[in-house]
């Protein structure tokens, strides 16, 4: 039960870029995102749905989401230094960023992903 969903989502993730929109208002061409969860809990599902929606709205298809279920692959937690779940890791563009939680606050996620400057101007030049 718990394992079926992530596998499916990984497929979605692979299809992501192909389905992507051609017009890209971003400097960086590809977003590589990894969502770490521990089983298909309501929080994991919510996080994935929030992420999917957000990517569609703001990355215009130029993204790739990989869902890692730590219950299946516990050793992967070390590499990205995961302690909390869900954790979203922005692997590309660099620098690596982490956002933990169910991603319910879209504003915060956008700031965390550098899609929106925090506090107006400080990150806008990046």
């Amino acid at each position: 039960m718990a394992t079926s969903k992530p596998t499916r989502s990984r497929k979605t993730a692979k299809n992501g870029p192909e389905m992507g929109n051609k017009e890209r208002p971003f400097k960086r061409p590809l977003w590589e995102l990894r969502l770490y969860v521990a089983g298909m809990t309501p929080t994991s599902i919510r996080a994935f749905e929030n992420l999917k929606r957000l990517c569609e709205e703001h990355m215009h298809g130029a993204y790739k989401i990989q869902v890692v279920d730590l219950l299946e692959r516990p050793m992967l937690a070390r590499g990205d230094q995961i302690i909390a779940v869900p954790t979203l890791v922005r692997r590309l563009p660099t620098p690596v960023k982490k956002i933990i939680g169910d991603l319910s606050n879209t504003e915060r996620v956008l700031v965390g992903l550098d899609l929106r400057p925090a506090g107006g101007f400080r990150n806008s030049r990046l």
């Binding site: 770490y36 521990a38 929080t43 919510r46 996080a47 929030n50 730590l70 219950l71 516990p74 050793m75 937690a77 070390r78 230094q81 995961i82 302690i83 909390a84 779940v85 869900p86 954790t87 620098p95 690596v96 960023k97 982490k98 956002i99 933990i100 939680g101 169910d102 991603l103 319910s104 606050n105 915060r108 996620v109 700031v111 965390g112």
Partner: protein, 486 residues
């Protein structure tokens, strides 16, 4: 009344409670298992708290390493403060090969790093990720011991204290269910034992480490604050952090229940033996030799050491004033060839400056050396210099502990003490003399302009008839000679 209490005792003793008694796992840390009466509570979590640099991590790592090496209990270290490489380097300096243990699957180190700056938090989360890592590591080596060092860094890394608290509570429950014995380290708080109140979650066994610096001299102490379901030593115990790791000195005042020996051993000076009921000191007694500068205290100490080694026994000489080579040279001038005893492994000279460490550390060093070398005679030359490290009260307290320990081991101890014409040092001699069984006072008397006469007086010698007259003695290359009455 006595009969009734006896009956009551019998009743409570009747059922066999041994299977219900708290099981413990030995830490393997020298002295700590004595203080805790057997080690940490099995399958539970022990909390080790203390300020920065007090040795918390080292204690935890030693617990793991000894478990892996001595007790066949593999361990997992969740390191949040230092990387695995740093831990490996630190332990290598103590002679432990962590990479070898890791290769043999006796140890797993997981470095957990959280950088608050790089983490954005939004919405609900839990710490299952950490749990999964810990579980995986435990399964990997089939761990029986776990060290969480320093788990409270979670509070610094994550913004939501409520989640961290709830998850820690869950973690400690889970550890208990998993049946692993865990050690959690935590920073000392200002008013509480730990900064984030971890003692509320981990309440089975709490140790506090302390590192005090008094007048530029540091002393480390350990205390068992709490140990549910077990008796434990309640005092503060000094401990050492040296090139062999941690060693706790489990001695406090042991009380006066040692058995007194009637065996006599030679002082190394036949004419002094003659004064001591013709036989010498009691084995296991303590001897004090006081005298002003240059009266030959060290010569008596050397003679005693020489006689001990000549019997084939071991003597341990703590020199707080001279280097070993200086002692050897000076003593060969009064007919004591100590070098041959060193070469035969019967004599060990341990020379340090008293100011190099605090009193407790000196006590710990003396204790460790005695445990390792197993001498029958210990010489401390001079204790006067220790007074420069601590005040009279603490010196006396330290000597009491030391003497109790030596008596229990039937080690004969000789202390020398420099006294000046008058003043504080003489008080010192009086203050500690009550602890001594035999007190020899050396002095010199001016005889006219060109001559000085050395004098010896047996001020006391418990439990034997002894010569109380004032004697004169000579020091020559043939040794010490006490020549009759003044």
């Amino acid at each position: 009344m006595p009969a009734r209490t006896a009956q009551k005792k019998k009743k409570t003793n009747a059922p066999d409670l041994s299977s219900l008694v708290l099981e413990k796992v030995p830490t393997g840390i020298r002295g700590l298992d004595q203080v805790t009466h057997g080690g940490f509570p099995k399958g539970r979590t022990a909390l080790v708290c203390g300020g920065p640099g007090t040795g918390k991590t080292l204690l935890g790592l030693e617990f793991l390493v000894h478990g892996a090496l001595l007790y066949n209990e593999p361990g997992v270290c969740v390191a949040m403060e230092e990387t695995a490489e740093e831990l490996v380097t630190n332990m290598a300096s103590l002679g432990y090969d962590l990479p070898a243990l890791i290769r043999k699957k006796k140890l797993a180190i997981d470095y957990v790093h959280i950088e608050r700056k790089l983490i954005e938090e939004t919405g609900e989360y839990d710490l299952e990720g950490l749990f999964i890592r810990l579980r995986a590591a435990i399964e990997q080596v089939k761990a029986k011991r776990v060290l969480l060092d320093t788990i409270e860094l979670l509070f610094l890394g994550l913004k939501n204290d409520g989640v961290v608290r709830a998850e820690l509570r869950r973690l400690f429950h889970w550890l208990k269910d998993a049946g692993v014995t865990a050690v959690v380290t935590a920073e000392m708080g200002e008013r509480t034992l730990t900064r984030y109140g971890l003692e509320e979650y981990v309440a089975d066994c709490v140790l506090v480490l302390d590192h005090r610096v008094n007048e530029q001299i540091s002393t480390r102490r350990l205390r068992v604050v709490k140990y549910r379901g077990s008796s434990h030593g309640t005092n503060e115990y000094p401990f050492l952090l040296d090139n062999q790791g941690i060693s706790v000195v489990p001695i406090t005042s042991l009380g006066l229940n040692h058995t007194a020996s009637t065996e006599r051993i030679s002082s190394g000076v036949p004419s002094l033996d003659a004064m001591l009921g013709k036989k010498g000191f009691f084995r296991g007694s303590s001897v004090l030799i006081t005298g002003t500068a240059g009266t030959g205290k060290s010569s008596f100490a050397a003679a005693f050491a020489g006689a001990t080694c000549a019997r084939g026994e071991r003597a341990l000489y703590f020199a707080y004033e001279e280097s070993p080579s200086q002692i050897l040279r000076n003593m060969s001038s009064v007919g004591q060839d100590l070098e041959k005893w060193i070469n035969r492994g019967l004599l060990r000279i341990h020379a340090t400056r008293p100011t190099a460490a605090g009193l407790e550390s000196h006590l710990a060093t003396v204790y460790n050396e005695i445990q390792e070398f197993k001498p029958t005679v210990v010489i401390i030359d001079p204790i006067t210099n220790l007074v420069s490290v601590g005040d009279l009260h603490s010196v006396k307290a330290m000597l009491t502990r030391l003497i109790d320990f030596l008596k229990l081991k039937h080690v004969t101890a000789m202390f020398t003490n420099l006294i000046f014409g008058s003043g504080v040092m003489e008080e010192t001699a009086v203050g500690i003399s009550s602890l001594m069984d035999t007190w020899v006072v050396l002095g010199d008397v001016d005889q006219g302009e060109s001559d000085r006469m050395r004098t010896l007086n047996l001020l006391k010698s418990r439990g034997m008839s002894h010569d109380t007259r004032m004697h004169r003695f000579t020091l020559s290359n043939k040794g010490i000679e006490v020549n009759g009455n003044k």
